[in-house]
């Protein structure tokens, strides 16, 4: 690389670091930095191009609080002739609709494997309510009383649909449902049929005038009014609902019934205060770790250590900016992985520096030693990082297989850290060193943490 290209690269790295600071800078600096210094407050950079308008880091449930559920669809209940895969997909879609209408910010609903569905609800602490909303089949149907085997029983009412076939009337023919209130102020459900349902409902209510109509939810009667007159498109259900129950039922009716029953296999809730505490502690730990590593590097490698510390700062800023922009969901373990990567990021530097010292000892000039140090250290840096990437890949697979976002978060942050550290430790350090050496400023081996104070001739300094 020529001097000029090297300079351009350094300018680029500097600009990258500044841009990263702007992206990463917190809204309330006093939360994360010692408040002795009046840090500028910032609203965070508003990146309004494309999809980027995020201000904070995306935090996992363990840090921001919320509910994590692993549901399993009962695939043994798949109707004959229906594709199991499609049925489970259907369950996922219905749950998604329900959660979206319920109004949770940034929920995650993902299908995992054959019959699992992961539901993450940030901010939701009432796990029971969440489970009721999501886990309930919510199959509504209309029934009439018929004598079966000499006994009066509720039988699903059927009518001829648009296709000329006699079909049961269920909640799937609803156009929409909403919460209303009766004259006494009690919540009721107002529903409206789409055209086919309206026709069928009209037929059924016509034949049931002065007879009871059963409205059943999941095989339980919720209301059994007596039909006064033929009704077509609109109706209301006066059950004994609380407002919350009515609201949830409306969400369920609008989203549709679950094609398969589901059971809850795993549930985790974290309170937001616990998460906030964890974030604060992790940030403090990370800052101290960064300081200690920097201090160690400077004391042990002197000028080289200063260069490595600069590279480490660039590394930290760039990785945090990547986390924010992608965005990577940060979990407690993920942050631990990142802090661990601060310790590992200097590894490539150490490899290179130790190599440089060896080359210096063997009598090479400073410039030649720097170049040889980088060239010779490269194979081991490459091989050792590939092995870490292999384990990260397997960990990610391991985590995704049963929906452990904690494990996935750790693998992802560590992998991003490893890749970024190769960039910072190799390219950034090398360019900085070339600039320093090119200026002929310092060629004393002592500045490299070498025991001798012998001055080396700046022979062959061309850059």
């Amino acid at each position: 690389m020529s001097d000029q290209r090297n300079n351009i690269f350094i300018v680029f790295v500097f600009a990258l670091a500044i841009a990263s600071i702007l992206v990463v800078w917190p809204q309330k600096p006093s939360n994360y930095l010692p408040d002795v210094i009046p840090w500028p407050k910032s609203e965070g950079v508003h990146l309004d191009w494309a999809d980027f308008h995020r201000q904070g880091f995306r935090l996992g449930l363990d840090l921001q609080g919320g509910t994590h559920l692993v549901l399993r669809a009962d695939t043994s209940k798949v109707p004959f002739g229906t594709d199991v895969n499609q049925a489970v997909d259907g369950v996922t879609r219905v749950i998604e609709k329900r959660v979206n209408t319920y109004g949770v910010a940034e929920p995650i609903i993902q299908r995992r494997g054959n019959d699992r569905i992961i539901v993450e609800l940030p901010g939701v602490r009432n796990i029971e309510e969440a489970k009721n909303l999501i886990g309930k089949t919510a199959q509504m149907d209309f029934r009439e009383q018929k004598t079966v085997d000499g006994k009066l029983d509720w039988v699903v009412a059927t009518a001829v649909g648009n296709d000329g076939v006699e079909k049961p009337l269920t909640g799937q023919y609803f156009k929409k449902a909403e919460v209303g209130f009766d004259r006494a102020g009690k919540p009721i459900i107002l529903f409206e049929f789409e055209s086919e349902g309206a026709k069928m409902f009209g037929d059924i209510t016509k034949r049931l005038i002065n007879k009871p109509l059963g409205i059943f939810l999941d095989n339980e009667p919720i209301s059994t009014p007596t039909v006064q007159q033929q009704i077509t498109d609109r109706g209301q259900i006066t059950g004994s609902f609380t407002i919350d129950e009515a609201r949830n039922l409306v969400i369920q009716l609008n989203a549709g019934a679950l094609p398969l029953p589901v059971t809850v296999e795993e549930e985790r809730t974290v309170d937001a205060t616990l998460g906030a505490d964890s974030v604060r502690k992790s940030v403090v730990a990370g800052e101290i770790a960064l300081l200690i590593v920097a201090l160690f590097m400077v004391l042990y490698y002197r000028m080289l250590g200063v260069v490595a510390t600069l590279a480490l700062l660039v590394y930290t800023l760039v990785v945090l900016a990547i986390f924010k922009l992608i965005p990577v969901t940060l979990t407690l373990a993920g942050i631990a992985g990142f802090i661990l990567s601060i310790g590992m990021a200097v590894d490539a530097n150490i490899l290179i520096f130790e190599r440089m010292k060896e080359e210096l000892r063997s009598g090479k000039t400073v410039v030649a030693s720097i170049e040889a140090g980088f060239a010779r250290a490269w194979p081991s840096i490459r091989d050792s990082n590939v092995s870490t990437m292999i384990t990260c890949g397997i960990l990610y697979w391991f985590g995704s297989n049963f929906g452990a976002s904690i494990v996935m978060g750790f693998a992802l942050t560590l992998a991003i850290g490893v890749i970024a550290s190769m960039f910072s430790a190799i390219t950034v350090t090398r360019s900085l060193l070339r600039i320093i050496v090119g200026r002929r400023a310092v060629l004393n081996p002592a500045l490299f943490g070498m025991p001798t104070a012998r001055r080396l001739e700046p022979a062959g300094v061309q850059g």
């Binding site: 029953p261 809730t269 730990a285 870490t388 384990t391």
Partner: protein, 322 residues
Amino acid sequence: MLYDLVSKRYTFFLISALAIIPGFISLILPGGLRPGIDFTSGSILTIRFERDVDQASMRQAFSDLGHHEAVVQRADDGTYIIRTTPLGAEGRDESGNVVVASERARVETDLSNRFGPLTVLSFDQVSPIVAAEIVKNSVFAVLAACVGILLYLWWAFRHVKESWRYGVCAVLALVHDVLVVLGIFSILGRIFAVELDALFITALMTVIGFSVHDTIVVFDRIRENSIRHLGEPFEDIVNHSLMQTMGRSFTTSLTVLLTLFTLWLFGGVTIRNFVLALLIGIFSGTYSSIFNASMFLVVWENGELGRLFGRGRRTETALARA
């Protein structure tokens, strides 16, 4: 300065054996590891009360609720961590309607009746089906990592004669580290009731990655020196390579251990066991990459395997286990 480390290889194996054997005995005895709910199913409830609650009455409360098995722990700040068998789901009829409130809801009501207002800081519940799968996947993940690394090293060292030995020796060294961590956690489980969770597997995998990371740096130097100093005795090449990479190995591990130690001190209780597993594993990884992995190469090269089994019982276990 050039120490002859290679000639002392059996001393280093002995040290490894001494580090592994106590933990290994604890591991193979019944109840070797204390699996947490991720592996066995169950519930963990973390509750904070507004007023101080003593541990005995908390135990009594869970006893009264029918959870005699409950493990009640009191944290420094008066927060309670209670482990029980899975709390029953809410009673549902065939079609999924709730007919009985869930056991968790009933536990919470009962506790707040007894001890006043409370906040559930976290609640985790894992069913036996999921737990069984996590166990299966954990074992598979660790094995897959070993095989992946073995294959990669075999390929990376393909220009050296008998390159597959490098892969095998690196994997032996990482098994050494996994055994050290498992063994120590087995003992910690017996003494301090430390439980293993999915994060522990994460720590173990990271240790595996790091152990190999470290080993590769030494192997890489052996590869380079074998080509440069063709014809020199293998033992000398290994010894030179070890001495040349020693400074780097110690320095790197030191920076990582410093970071982990900071995390352990300041990172909060939630991840303390996770960080502890990493600390132990990375310490062991540094040792094994210097004093075991390359020594295995020498033992193998010299065909000392037969002789090794003739030696003391402890050394034999060192190799068999490591």
